[in-house]
Structure formats: structure tokens, C-alpha cells
Amino acid sequence: MSFSLYVEVLIQGVLTGLVYGLMALGLSVIFGVVRVVNFAHGEFAVLAMYAAFILFGLFHLDPIVASLPIAAAFFVVGYMLQRTVVQPFVTRPQHEQFILLVGLSIVIVNALLLTFGPESKHTDLSYSFDSYSLGAVLVDKARVYGAAAALVVTTALFAFFRYTLTGAAIRAAADNLTGAAVVGLDVKRLYAISFGVGLACVGAAGSIMMALTDMTPMLGPSLTLLAFTIVIVGGLGSMAGALFGGMLIGVAEALASVIASPSIKSMVSFSLLVLVLALRPQGLFGKAEA
């Protein structure tokens, strides 16, 4: 195989990985702050894909553009969900939280199956088959746009956590929960915002993915698993880790697809997961537990 093919695959992997990273970032934010693992994460991504698909069908709205309104709507959904359903489980044992969110994921998948059927769906964009050429290297236009949108959302998120008072308060609650109660931070509100932010990430990522791949309701569990792999490789609770983990998995899967076969790509990312768990259990960017 030619060298330019490897460069091409590498670039595609990084671009797709940025979108994966944004999705995983949502999982990481929710876990890092609320300490609840969103086992319905991939299902929310699929829900966002359907939202993007419908918006495309109704208004011919580009899924990459639609990622912004969908992220906003998902923020509201996440906020309400935390306030009503998840908050009472925050102090309960982990297996009960697990049952709650797995239950939610089953409801989402089956509601989608019931409503839209099991057929795979895709959006035909005017630039779906266009690509930029850098010499001999070809890069999909849709992937470039998608990665750019993912970067914009991620940057906005970093700025929110770094520069706003609410962002600092969320970091404070993640840092020291007792301290947060002591100074009178409204922790339940901060949790609701964090869950909202987490779902906004997965909402934007899912919408962008609608421009890149085909989708069926059954995609949910594999996306949840993908988000997990990324977040554990990158380091649970680390924002930079989620993004880097996304790119790493994106590249690893893309390279495995061309070198061996597309069906082997999950094996490569899970091998990476096992390797990281064995050698650096806190993840590449994670802090070791004190």
C-alpha cells in the first residue's frame, strides 16, 4: 500500500476521532461531576442522530449545522433528567444507578425501533462524496466539517469550564463535594447543569455523526461501548483525556480497517483498552487515586 494511503487514513482517523471525542467528553463530564456513569450514552447519540435525520428531512437542515440546536435541546433534556430521575439515585449504590440508566437505554432503543423501524437511515448531503485533495491525499469534506464543528463545541466547553463562574463552581463540586456544601454551592443545580452539558456533547456529536455514517436504532450499545473505551483509555473525568482518547481510538480503528479488515477495528480498540487498563489503569490523562 502506498504511503499516501496511510496519511489519508491517519487524517480520517483523527477527524472521526474528534467527533468520537466530543461524544466521550459528555460521558466524562457527567461521571467527573455527578459520579454517575451514563450507561445510556450511546443511545442518546442515536437519539440525536434521529433528531438530525428528521430535521434534515423536514427543513433540509445540514446535520452539522443542526448539531447546535440539537445540543441546546439535549442540554435541556439532560438538565430535566438529572433533576427528576437521576438525582434521587446519586446517593444510592452503583448497581442501582446502573439498572436505572441501562433501563433508560432500553427504553430509548425500543422507542426508536417502534417509531422508525429497524431500517438503516442516512442523509444525502450535497458534499457527501466530495473531498479535499492535498496532493495525492484525499480527505472527505463531510469529515472535515464534522471535525471542525466538534472542535468548536469542545472549545466552547473548555471556555465554559475555565472562564465562567458556573464552570468554576462545577469544577469545585467535582473537586471537593464537602467543600461545595460548606460554601453554599447549590450542588443539585450544578449536577443538573453538568448532566445537561454531558448530553449537549453527545447531542452535538450524534448530530454530526449523521453526516458521516448510516444509522440504525441498534447502534446505541456499540456507541456506548465506544464512549467507554475512549474515556477509560483517556482517563475517566479528564476532558483532555476524552478528546485525546477519541483521536487515538479513531486512528487505531481507521488503520486497523485498511491494514487488516474493517471487521477487526473493534478488536483493536478493545485491545487498546485492555492494554491501558493493565499498564495505566487510571487512563493516559487520568490522575491516580490517592
Partner: protein, 234 residues
């Protein structure tokens, strides 16, 4: 200002507080003395709304605040300098201070209070951009006090403010409490240094196994044989 009446608190089946009653008058320093595990921290956390009492009333300026959420209690003007300082280690000193002023009552004068705190604690001024986790124990205690004052409290509950500090730093912390009290701040003080806390307290209570066993003025308790034997080793 603060009246606690017949407070009961349980952790599951274990009773941490049994019928505790006490009063903090406006402008007073009230000390609570007791062995480890006697329920001092539980009492403070119950007043702060972090733990829910099983029975009893907590009146602040006549309003029953028992069972209120902690951010609402804070917003009424009850601040806390918690045991173990409880700073936010990865946030900067500046961010830590701002977190003290997130409650609605303190939002308006946030910038003004920040300047005041940095003037009051020059050591913090030199370190505003530094992560709070990198400060020394004494500096973290100063930060915890300054962060609490950012919320414009009228009553502050200090839980073991000198624990783990060098003697000089411990003295500086106690001096700060005296100064703040002179400026009108009411204080509830739990302190391992029993002699020092009784000396600066107007009233004091002895807490044993979750119940008040003795109370009186600071001076009276300091002279009491039972207190001298049990807590002062005399």
C-alpha cells in the same frame, strides 16, 4: 441569634446527637468542648444543613432552619470554616475565594469583598493564581476563612481551625477569630486547644457522647474541676 433546641441526629442506627440545646448570642464567641467522636462536627454539619436532624429545632433569628438545604442556610448568613479546611485543591486561590460568594446574598459585593480579603490576608494575595492544593496547611486555613467571609456571614462556625498547624500559625488563626469577633462577627468554635478556646469564649458547652453535659461561661468552665481533669489534663 442561633438557638438549638433538643436536637437529635442519627447515622443509621447510631445516635450522634441526643437532645442537644445551645444558644449563640449576637456578637458572642461560643466554644464547644468534647472528645473525638463526641458529636461536635455532627452538630456543626446539622446546623449547616449538610446533615438532616431527626428531631429538634434550629432557630436562626427566630426562623426554624432545621432540615433546610445547605446553600439556603449559607444564604441566611451562617458560614462555616470546616474541619480539614475543605478548599478546592485544583482551583486557584482566586477561584476558591469567588466560590465563597456564589450565594445570592454575597453576589453584589463580590469584587469589593475580594479586595478586602486580599488586604486582610496578604499571604493569599501573593498566591491568587496558584492552585489551592499547593498551599501550606496554614495558608489553606487562611483561604478557608477568607472564602467563608466572602459569603458575608453573620455567624461563622469554626471546626478545628488550628488542627495540624504549627503553634505560630495556630495562634495566628485564633488571633484572626478574635479580630473578626471584635468587628461584630458571632462565632461558634470547636477547637482541640481547649484552654485557648475557653479563654476566648464568652459561653461554652461540654459535649460528651452526643449530649451536653456541662455549660457555663468560658471562664467558669476553665475553672471547673471536671473540665480541668478531662480536657486540660490538670
Amino acid at each position: 441569634m442561633l438557638v438549638v433546641e433538643n436536637l437529635d441526629l442519627c447515622y443509621g442506627d447510631a445516635q450522634a446527637l441526643a437532645g442537644v440545646s445551645l444558644e449563640v448570642r449576637q456578637g458572642a464567641v461560643v466554644a464547644i468542648v468534647g472528645a473525638n467522636g463526641a458529636g461536635k462536627t455532627s452538630l456543626i454539619r446539622a446546623i449547616a444543613g449538610i446533615l438532616k436532624p431527626k428531631r429538634g429545632r434550629i432557630l436562626f433569628r427566630g426562623q426554624n432552619i432545621a432540615g433546610l438545604e445547605s446553600h439556603r442556610v449559607c444564604n441566611l448568613g451562617i458560614g462555616q470554616v470546616a474541619e480539614g479546611r475543605q478548599v478546592f485543591p485544583t482551583l486557584t486561590v482566586h477561584e476558591n475565594l469567588l466560590m465563597g460568594a456564589m450565594i445570592p446574598r454575597a453576589k453584589k459585593r463580590r469584587a469589593e469583598n475580594l479586595d478586602r480579603m486580599l488586604a486582610l490576608f496578604p499571604r493569599l494575595r501573593e498566591r491568587t493564581g496558584q492552585a489551592a492544593g499547593t498551599l501550606s496547611g496554614g495558608e489553606q486555613q487562611m483561604l478557608a476563612i477568607a472564602r467563608c467571609l466572602m459569603g458575608e456571614p453573620e455567624l461563622v462556625m469554626f471546626d478545628e481551625p488550628s488542627l495540624g498547624l504549627s503553634p505560630a500559625m495556630a495562634q495566628a488563626v485564633l488571633d484572626t477569630i478574635v479580630d473578626l469577633n471584635r468587628q461584630g462577627l458571632s462565632c461558634l468554635l470547636v477547637e482541640q486547644n481547649v484552654a485557648a478556646s475557653l479563654e476566648l469564649a464568652s459561653d461554652a458547652y461540654v459535649l460528651e457522647n452526643g449530649a451536653i453535659t456541662l455549660s457555663g461561661t468560658g471562664a467558669a468552665l476553665l475553672a471547673d474541676d471536671r473540665v480541668r481533669q478531662a480536657y486540660l489534663g490538670m
